[in-house]
């Protein structure tokens, strides 16, 4: 089987932006160390009224939606059978893998007693009434699935390598660190053989893993909405509704497609590659359908619950609601015009609007619309923010490095292959 659709991006790894991102990452991880030594209160403004702060709201609830590019593109390619989007999938899967993996890391920073997390694997401790239980298991399973989905890129790279850089490195340091060049090269060769052996086996079952990778986000993205169903007395009525699971599911889909557009435009720009214009125009024609359904469900629900007046009252909560609504609606309206869908500039602008609006919705549900009463207040502290920044920086850093090591980005001119074009 060929992997000709994807290629390694040949460029320098240690660029100036690499060092900036590395610095931010190190600051973030140093603060994480502080949190584990002196407690969560030492770095965070979270309190007993606002027990979930920016880490859960951004890194988990919003970050995983932003990481839904892989999910959204996979639906398009494997379920709706639009194979000409296939070149986009690997970079989407890679960013999803980072989004979810690092959401998992954030959770381990956020929870107070992470050493007890093994209880998720002990059936007698399972509490299936809890939406959190469902989210936790699904997110762990999905992260594993994403890693397996990314494996073909690693395997094909292993098969093609002849360990030149390893050889040079070992020759240069010959005799130091007690390294024996020949033994290590023999082991590396064994690894290459294993990659050749495992690849066809993986290819056979991969489709079932991929479909699992579509099922799991459907489950846990809706459950991320279900998480806040319980907070009926604390979450503002503009957002507290039985439709939370449905709204979160549709929300992650349109964020997913918009993020796939953004990723493609940004990496084309940053890596100085031509734009994947044909695929992006196609993706952009899907989002308005999803946002229309989403906005209709939202408005219909507000009318049904008699909250429309509240939504238009222009107070604090109404302001954030209208902002979220306006961002998504304006992005979608611009995309209704074919001419705009063919312009890279408008594709970029609308994707940004829709992602911001969709993300703000999640912030509204988890933080802004949440009021525990009794005068509790919360605004994230600098250290708390820097941990989130550090984790995001690490995500971008690792993406930039990995696309230069493994065949992730679409092969240039690959989409001109007649075989992969399907109307």
């Amino acid at each position: 089987m060929s992997h000709d659709e994807f290629q390694v991006h040949r460029a320098k790894i240690l660029t100036p932006s690499f060092w900036v991102l590395l610095t931010l990452t190190l600051i973030g991880f140093a603060l994480i160390a502080v949190r584990f030594i002196w407690g969560i209160g030492a770095v965070s403004n979270m309190n007993d009224g606002y027990p979930w702060g920016i880490w859960i709201t951004y890194d988990v609830a919003t970050g995983t939606a932003i990481a839904c590019g892989g999910y959204a593109v996979a639906i398009l390619v494997y379920i709706r059978n639009k194979m000409h989007y296939h070149p986009l999938i690997r970079s989407a899967v890679l960013t999803s893998l980072f989004g979810y993996g690092l959401a998992g890391l954030s959770v381990m920073v956020d929870v107070g007693r992470p050493w007890n997390a093994y209880n998720f694997f002990i059936p007698s401790q399972w509490q299936i009434n809890s939406a959190m239980f469902e989210v936790a298991l699904c997110v762990m399973a999905y992260t594993t699935v994403l890693a397996i989905e990314f494996l073909p890129a690693v395997l094909s790279r292993l098969q093609q390598t002849n360990w030149n850089s390893a050889r040079t490195f070992l020759d240069r340091h010959h005799g130091r660190f007690g390294l024996d060049t020949e033994i290590i090269l023999a082991k590396l060769e064994k690894l290459r053989q294993w990659a050749l052996w495992v690849q066809p086996k993986l290819d056979k079952v991969l489709i079932f893993i991929i479909v699992l990778g579509i099922t799991l986000p459907t489950m846990h993205q809706s459950s991320l909405g279900s998480l806040m169903l319980i907070a009926s007395t604390k979450l503002h009525p503009l957002w507290h509704t039985g439709f939370l699971p449905l709204l979160f599911l549709i929300n992650c889909l349109f964020i997913g497609y918009s993020i796939a557009i953004l990723e493609s435009i940004i990496s084309s720009y940053a890596f100085k590659r031509p734009f994947e214009s044909e695929q992006l125009t196609g993706l952009a024609s899907i989002t308005p359908y999803l946002t229309t359904i989403w906005l209709s469900v939202m408005v219909g629900d507000l009318i049904w619950r008699g909250q429309l007046g509240n939504a238009l009252s222009l107070d604090f909560y109404s302001g954030f609601f209208l902002l979220e609504f306006g961002l998504v609606a304006s992005g979608s309206i611009i995309l209704l015009f074919r001419r705009n869908r063919q312009s890279m500039r408008w594709l970029f602008v609308t994707a940004v609007l829709i992602v911001l609006g969709g993300a703000l919705y999640r912030f509204n549900v988890y933080l802004i619309g949440f009021n525990p009463g009794q005068g509790w207040r919360y605004f994230p502290s600098l250290a708390e923010l820097m941990i989130t920044v550090g984790i995001v920086a690490f995500e971008i850093l690792a993406y930039k490095v990995l696309v230069k090591l493994f065949p992730v980005l679409p092969r240039l001119h690959g989409h001109e292959e007649p075989a992969s074009v399907k109307a």
Binding site: D48, N116, F120, W126, S130, A131, I207, A419
Partner: protein, 310 residues
Amino acid sequence: MGGKSRRDFLKLAGLAGAGLVAAPALAVAGSSTSGPNDEELGMLYDATKCVGCKACMAACKRVNGDYNALAYEQAQFDPDMLWDAPKDLTGSTRTIIKLFKESPKEWSYVKYSCMHCQKPSCVSVCPVAAMVKDKITGIVDYKKNACIGCRYCQVACAYNIPKFQWDKALPQIVKCDLCKNTFLKSNGTSACADACPTNAIMFGKRKNLLAEAKKRLTEHPRQYVNHIYGEYELGGTNHLYLSALPIKKLGLPELQKDAPAEFSEKIQHTIYKGFIAPVALYGTLCFIAVRNMKKQESDHQSKGDQPHEP
């Protein structure tokens, strides 16, 4: 596409499904939805009898001090740590007396501690069953060794009762357990009720507490607001309140009769009933994806092309 691997996968999915089918059945059997169980244990706090001496707070800390990590909380004017002066329920304080002053003539003390709900949100949301409600006594207890510290119980609790130890590297949740693990075993009552010099705190079965509260309301109608707080709030609580001021003025939330956990569990159970929907979704998607892939392969072969890898 190897038929064997596909069969294995479906088997695996079926197995995973079966395991999760059994679990909901058990859980549903455990949670009754047929109104309050008045045989459960609780407390009646009568704010009109409370003199604000805080003996209950001291007793609570004394009894729980050796049980686990409760500390004394320092006031700014007391650098010598002579006096425990918590400002609110915290990771070191399970119960607290507060004063609410409306005017020089209109004021009331109020005692906060766990309400021991009939249908507790914290128990419903805890992913690892670290919050549990005793089937007989109805006491809502916290299991430190199961807790992962996710604080979902804090988000869920409408009364803001569970508290987290923000300043500790190895923190835990702290909340009243009605002395289940301490005083109750040897004394048959809670430490705060035992310590109260004015009988403002009455310990007992919910039915007795309700009867007593109703008796006081009929005997002294002018002394109280005609409302037993906790009788119906969020499906009923085992900790009940009587007071002279409207309950909102005592910092307690005005709440609806339905338990939020009934609402959220209904939705979650509808989606995941018997795990049928997820398995059906996976099966359907597999069918579509495999069919698409086969079509793709045959298209390619007819063109004499290399097939796409998935």
